[in-house]
């Protein structure tokens, strides 16, 4: 299957896939082990089989509603009727998972960096998902692509958050705007936008404090930051990236909904995919809120961040390798 073209990025594909697979290794084995075991445990296609398949999806955190709809659609799929054995279901399942994500569209997951002028990216998400680390990784990547990058230390709340981003800025060797003692993050963002414009930066990456999506006050604060950016630069922010931890369960849906409501989320970054969690909730997020996954975090190092590749992701989940 050659779905790579859908993403328009074939450069260094092999190398990348390898790394991706390394990161996804545990993920893949777990999911596959179950799926294979389930399919091979049945000679015929029965209701029990569908129940067990449901469990496999649920186990990957793919979202209860999305899973139930998926299994219903699978049950009614014409191709399934023609299957003679349970194992023949596997390619159909894979195929339907591609459909689930793509929905017949060409999904663009490149970061929206403007050809001319300043691009502003806003990073949002709940506490502890890895926003600050992700910003460092993206700064590193963009800098290596020759962009002039500026960071805005917009997490004025968490102790040590500013220091953390500052430390990253040093390591990546990019500039950073810090407002010591500031309590209103919008003012930091305002300063950063101003400095980015005056200093002819290509990209401004705005860090924000982690906030739980059910905290109205904090969400209003985020809306304000967003407004400041919109007001200062027409068309900005060019990306509003919702960072989601791969261990997140069903709450990921609530996060996507709420953050999308106060900001215009343009994509998801799935972090910590090097762990054992499947991060399957992003498939439900795509299904329900139509948000593409743009990048995935695969480790703690600066270059442990890759563009999301659906083929790698899904094929990774179904890889034949067994090494548990």
């Amino acid at each position: 299957m050659a779905f790579g073209w859908l993403f328009g990025r074939n450069k260094k594909k092999d190398e990348k896939a390898k790394k991706y697979q390394l990161g996804m290794k545990k993920t893949r084995t777990g999911f596959l082990g179950k799926l294979k075991a389930v399919l091979s445990g049945y000679s015929q296609i029965t209701e029990d089989l569908f129940d067990d398949l449901t469990d496999v999806f649920i186990m990957a955190d793919i979202g209860v509603e999305t899973t139930l709809n998926f299994i219903d659609a699978l049950r009614e799929d014409e191709r399934v009727e023609e299957c003679e054995s349970a194992e023949e279901l596997q390619p159909i399942i894979v195929d339907k998972m591609f459909d689930l994500y793509l929905k017949g569209e060409i999904v663009n997951n490149n970061l929206n960096v403007q050809k001319d002028g300043l691009s502003v990216f806003l990073f949002v998400g709940v506490n502890g998902v890895g926003k600050t680390t992700t910003i460092a990784k993206i700064a590193y990547r963009l800098k290596n692509e020759g962009k002039k990058v500026l960071l805005a230390a917009g997490d004025t709340f968490r102790a040590g958050a500013v220091d953390q981003l500052e430390e990253w800025a040093k390591r990546v060797n990019v500039d950073i705007v810090i407002k010591k003692g500031a309590t209103d993050p919008s003012s930091v963002i305002f300063d950063a936008v101003k400095r980015a414009k005056e200093g002819n930066y290509d990209v401004l990456l705005c860090d924000t404090a982690g906030r739980l999506q059910n905290k109205a006050g904090l969400m209003a604060e985020l809306a304000k930051m967003n407004k400041v950016i919109e007001r200062e630069i027409p068309g900005a922010p060019h990306e509003t990236l919702l960072v989601i931890d791969a261990t997140t369960g069903q709450n990921g849906l609530s996060q996507a909904e709420a953050f999308n409501e106060v900001t215009n989320v343009t994509g998801v970054i799935l972090t910590k995919l090097d762990g054992t969690s499947k991060g399957g909730i992003v498939l439900a997020i795509r299904d329900k809120y139509n948000l593409p996954i743009k990048m995935v975090g695969l480790g703690e190092k600066l270059d442990d961040l890759e563009y999301f590749d659906l083929e790698d992701y899904i094929m990774g989940l179904f890889d034949e390798e067994e090494d548990e």
């Binding site: 040590g160 997140t248 369960g249």
Partner: protein
């Protein structure tokens, strides 16, 4: 209107059971499906859900549900009781030495909230156990993690021991503990770097730290929003370290937090604390019962059921339900109902009690005193009138007499009869009767029954049943 709570959903799927007194397999299967989805949506591990459902199904087929007039609530109650039992009935306290230096080791995945909770726990134990804490900053990997802990320590005025990021964590811990002894602290809390449970090097580091520090309590911090993988994470940490307690963080989010159940059930690690906010005093002891309610997404519904079952004679309630089923609702029934409600102490109580009434009564304006006036007015009715409300509804002179007898204005009595008629219609509808049944019942009028003594409602009226 979407069905909000599991209770509502179950009420719906089990509604036709009411009064029929006989359960069939399909009703229960429908109910079990609802429970399954609810638990999965709460991120309870799918294996547990499976086992759990099998267990509950058996009990749900039992008499308690079958005889109940609110089978939905009864099933929820069974689910709830099982959940509480699974999570360990009572809160388990943190392990501390009775005297001398107690050591708490924090561990967990990245971003689960270890550093913040290192500070919170220290603050909590200083306040509640009167201990003198020292924090040890052993996260040398995440940029500014040490700085974060130092800042938190400053905010709380709690000393932080740190040796920068060059010294190995094992060494920092060794020296930190020695320092704690030297400075006569009696509590040490060690913050460690977040790590994946599959990272063997870093897991070994934790084992080393454990050997050095000999902690009384090894607290695993887990993000309450964690999905199905929570069990893997917890059991891996447990296997390598022998975790003694779990700290569930970010429970101030809108997650249902099924991870709590998964962890407790699969690993037996007790959940000891929950983090409920970013402020440093927002730490609470874990209560299994509250968590069970949360997982079910049912707020205080269960509380109402408990209250209801404690205060209401099931037989009385059943009798009333049966009468409703037959299309009978008289002033005597109304009076009985008011009495039941008053026993429960609040209007809310009745919501779960009357079959299907639930959400439909929400938002209807209700005034406390009305309650008393109604009782007084009914007290002024003749026995015949109470049994046959139509007698009053159509007669000006009867209403006038009741008004005089009760000392209430005519208008109020008139309203009462109108509202009573409306209410009767609603009650019968809720009780699952068809329009036709109702009309028939209306034509037939009330059937005589033993009239309860009508008490003049002059007593304290704490009830809040209002129309």
């Amino acid at each position: 209107m979407p069905l909000e709570t599991l209770s509502d959903k179950l009420q719906m799927s089990l509604r036709r059971l009411t009064g029929r007194g006989k359960l069939n397999e399909k009703d229960i299967d429908d109910a079990m499906r609802e429970i399954r989805v609810a638990l999965l949506e709460a991120d309870v591990n799918y294996r547990i859900v499976k086992k759990f459902i099998a267990e509950i199904k058996e009990e749900a087929l039992g008499e308690r549900v079958m005889k109940s007039l609110t089978p939905g609530d009864q099933v929820v109650k069974i689910v709830y009781e099982h959940l509480v039992a699974l999570m360990g009935e009572e809160a388990v306290p943190i392990n501390l030495k009775p005297s001398g230096l107690s050591v708490v080791l924090m561990c967990g995945l990245q971003g689960s909230g270890k550093t913040t909770h290192t500070a919170k726990i220290a603050n909590y134990l200083r306040k509640n156990n009167n201990l003198r804490p020292l924090l040890i900053a052993a996260d040398v990997y995440r940029p500014a993690a040490i700085n974060q802990l130092v800042q938190l320590g400053k905010q709380l005025d709690i000393e932080v021991f740190e040796l920068g990021t060059i010294v190995k964590p094992q060494e920092i811990v060794r020296k930190g503990i020695a320092y704690a002894k030297d400075t006569s602290k009696n509590l040490v809390i060690i913050d460690t770097a977040g790590r994946l449970q599959i990272d063997e090097v870093l897991m070994q580091e934790l084992v080393d730290i454990k050997d050095i520090a000999k902690p009384d309590e090894i607290l695993l911090t887990i993000d309450a929003m964690t999905g199905q993988d929570a069990v893997n994470v917890a059991s891996s940490f447990h296997e390598k370290l022998g975790v003694t307690g779990c700290l569930l963080t970010k429970l101030d989010s809108d997650t249902r937090g099924g991870a709590a159940l998964s962890i407790r059930y699969m690993t037996q690690i007790p959940i000891k604390f929950i983090g409920v906010g970013e402020k440093l005093d927002q730490l609470e002891v874990f209560h299994p019962d509250r968590m069970a309610k949360r997982i079910l997404g049912m707020g205080d519904v269960i509380g109402l059921i408990e209250k209801a079952t404690a205060n209401i004679d099931e037989d009385d309630a059943m009798k009333m339900a049966e009468r409703l089923q037959k299309g009978i609702f008289t002033y005597n029934d109304f009076l009985d109902q008011i009495k039941m409600i008053k026993k429960m102490g609040s209007l809310k109580g009745i919501l779960g009690m009357i079959p299907g009434l639930g959400s439909k009564l929400k938002g209807i304006d209700i005034d406390d005193k009305q309650f008393m006036y109604i009782e007084v007015a009914i007290g002024s009715m003749t026995k015949e009138e109470r049994k046959n409300p139509d007698l009053i509804a159509t007669s000006y002179s009867r209403k006038m007499r009741i008004a005089k007898g009760s000392g209430r204005p005519y208008q109020e009595i008139n309203n009462l009869t109108k509202r009573f008629a409306e209410m009767k219609k609603q009650m019968l509808a809720f009780a699952g009767m068809s329009e036709e049944d109702m009309e028939r019942a209306a034509r037939r009028g009330g059937v005589p029954m033993k009239a309860p003594k009508a008490k003049k409602g002059k007593g304290k009226n704490k009830g809040g049943f209002r129309f």
